[in-house]
Symmetry: C3
Subunit: 190 residues, 3 copies
């Protein structure tokens, strides 16, 4: 179990830190970069939640909770040794990805197809969802970079990929079901 | 023409994706990193727009639109083959950079020169413009990194360079024409 | 002394720029990346300040000022030649780190220890402090990456490490002294 009490321990002052399994790596290690970016994504979702109500707020909280599962997943290397841990290691599973897909399908059902990109913005909620969308994609890029070493749960990568699409569709819903979205006009100011 | 309807296609679940010309690269490829960061910059401008009025809001929308021209530009490699595309390829052009310069000159005209840096913040609008300013600079760093391979439109790099200066001057205007800006006092808390 | 008047100089249009000592490097050089990210962190603190009052607002301003000392520090390479500069070179010193530690101790004193991570969010202020926390950690990762070359002031790295802990504790205070924080429930949605 995680315990947070003293908060600063000074152990990381030299620039290295511990992964979940206790192994030490540089703070700029791609693995730390990946779960650190997931943490940043999670913080932007905290801002979205300020402007969301009811079902959307609840769903955002579930996603925030998932992102700690995802962080725990990324923070634990050596996947192939999971069964030797002596306890069930926490990793993202496909059903979490599928829940996002079902919610996307539901939110997307009554949206008109787009014939151009939309300018990120609109309502306060939509604007924040767009920011999270782009940070989810940044986190995904970190995860795919890390995945080059072969030691990343593919369901975690899928989760991040789906999450940015979830956020796109949620943003459209937050702009009057997409009716208030402003389309990109290629080369309009040239 | 871009079409967005189904949104999630699962084609990127393995960590690679398509550029505009259909070629496939890793999601953490410097080119994807560059237009992904421009997308994030665009999202922060969506937040600025929430607090901007009249001329500034209109100008921010034009810049948001430009940034999709810029994204399309970065997303299409092999500049030297543009004339073989069979249609006019969309790239940032110098007049878009010059429009930013003219707007900077106009917004800067009545501002007092500064004898120190200013603490980012102040009004809600100024605070958001400062955030966008720093993300524009992050996007510029991605673009210059990509440009090492020689396959980046230099006008796109100039646009990003000018945009962070535009945002700085706009932020000063949003703080009472700079009169409410708080200056850095070197070493004040030492 | 820094002077900001014309703002855009076009000198950086080719993708390189000047450090404090006049030497030129690429804009994507790890050193520029590091102080550029500190600038972004500073901008997020400007957003926090919008929602902070009294002592916390004052402390945030002091930290924003410190971050320019830190930026000046990172922007000046060749630490070993500081005594040949002919003037006192500005660098972060240990007392600035210790002030953060004292403030953490004070803010942490009446908080309950945590038995799990907390979902970033809650009050508007807490939500923004969490975002800054994660950006401080990103800046720290840039600093430790740069520090591999041996030419980084260790007190600057310590400052960034402590700052993210400061922001965590401040965020808890901003959620009713931690009583309104929502805990991560591992695997809750699986
Ligand atoms: C990875 C990590 C992070 C990551 C990712 C976390 C995530 N899940 O997304 C991120 C970057 C988000 C993070 C952030 C922070 N962290 Co952190 N983090 C860690 C680290 C390395 C691992 C935690 C973890 O995720 N474990 C995975 C979970 C699932 O493991 P678990 O809870 O232990 O449960 C497993 C096992 O224990 C087992 N198990 C559980 N119960 C039982 C029971 C039995 C009987 C058995 C057999 C097994 C068992 O099964 C579980 C499933 O696998 C720990 C250090 C460490 N090595 O533990 C620090 C640590 C907890 N973090 C710390 C700190 C300070 C923070 C931050 C405050 C830093 C900051 N300033 O931002 C924030 C707080 C964020 C928040 N919102 O609350 C400190 C706490 C210090 C203290 N004592 O006060 C620690 C201890 C590191 C340190 N030494 O400094 N962190
Ligand atoms: C690059 C890109 C992005 C980039 C940059 C885009 C930019 N311009 O800034 C970014 C990162 C922003 C992005 C974001 C998203 N994207 Co995208 N993107 C693409 C990609 C690879 C190219 C699009 C592009 O910019 N084209 C350049 C423009 C100018 O080209 P064009 O509109 O086709 O027009 C040119 C030509 O077609 C030609 N032309 C036009 N008309 C005509 C007519 C004739 C007769 C002729 C001869 C020629 C011609 O001339 C034009 C000028 O060169 C496409 C896939 C693809 N290969 O097309 C996906 C794609 C459109 N994106 C997709 C998605 C899902 C998204 C996101 C929702 C992802 C997310 N979750 O965030 C967001 C939406 C963002 C938003 N705000 O709306 C999906 C859509 C799937 C679907 N069918 O629903 C696609 C198809 C990728 C995929 N297979 O998954 N994207
Ligand atoms: C590093 C840097 C940054 C960094 C970090 C700064 C920091 N401290 O955190 C960041 C990224 C934040 C930054 C941002 C910007 N910057 Co800048 N920055 C610089 C740079 C390279 C060094 C500035 C610095 O930090 N100096 C360190 C301080 C401590 O030095 P100092 O004030 O000169 O004082 C020292 C010495 O001068 C000496 N000293 C002082 N007084 C005296 C007196 C005597 C008698 C003696 C002997 C010695 C002495 O002792 C001091 C302590 O060491 C300068 C260019 C340059 N080489 O000067 C550009 C520069 C100042 N920046 C510039 C610009 C435009 C900006 C931005 C507007 C860019 C943007 N669009 O975002 C922003 C503004 C940010 C803000 N909030 O105000 C331009 C200004 C152009 C102009 N004339 O208008 C410059 C000149 C670069 C350029 N050529 O384009 N910047
Ligand atoms: C919509 C388009 O965005 C690009 N793309 C796919 N994944 C990412 C990511 N994580 N970050 C940035 N861009 C991405 C691809 O080019 C895709 O076709
Ligand atoms: C104002 C100062 O900021 C630095 N600089 C120039 N371009 C960038 C960028 N994209 N990101 C971060 N810092 C930059 C240079 O050091 C310049 O002199
Ligand atoms: C709380 C946990 O966060 C990780 N950690 C430590 N420093 C950073 C940073 N700058 N960025 C991201 N993660 C970090 C370590 O794994 C630590 O144990
Ligand atoms: Mg995707
Ligand atoms: Mg510049
Ligand atoms: Mg730390």
């Amino acid at each position: 179990m995680v315990v947070l009490n003293k908060i600063y321990t000074r152990t990381g002052d030299k620039g290295d830190t511990a992964l979940s399994d206790g192994s030490r790596v540089a703070k700029h290690d791609p693995r730390v970069e990946a779960y650190g970016t997931v943490d940043e994504l999670n913080a932007t979702l905290g801002l979205c939640r300020l402007h969301a109500a009811d079902q959307l707020a609840a769903r955002l909280s579930v996603i925030q909770n998932d992102l700690f599962d995802l962080g725990a997943d990324l923070a634990r290397p050596n996947m192939e040794a999971d069964d030797q841990a002596g306890y069930p290691v926490l990793r993202i599973i496909q059903s979490q990805v599928e829940r996002l897909e079902q919610e996307i399908d539901e939110m997307n059902a009554d949206l008109q197809p787009l014939r151009s990109f939309i300018l990120p913005g609109g309502s306060v909620l939509a604007s924040h969802l767009h920011l999270s969308r782009t940070v989810a994609r940044r986190a995904e890029r970190c995860a795919t970079e890390l995945a080059r070493n072969g030691d990343v749960n593919q369901a975690a990568v899928r989760y991040l990929n789906r999450l940015s699409d979830w956020l796109f569709v949620a943003a459209r819903q937050a702009n009057g079901g997409g009716t208030e979205d402003v389309l990109w006009v290629p080369g309009a100011s040239r």
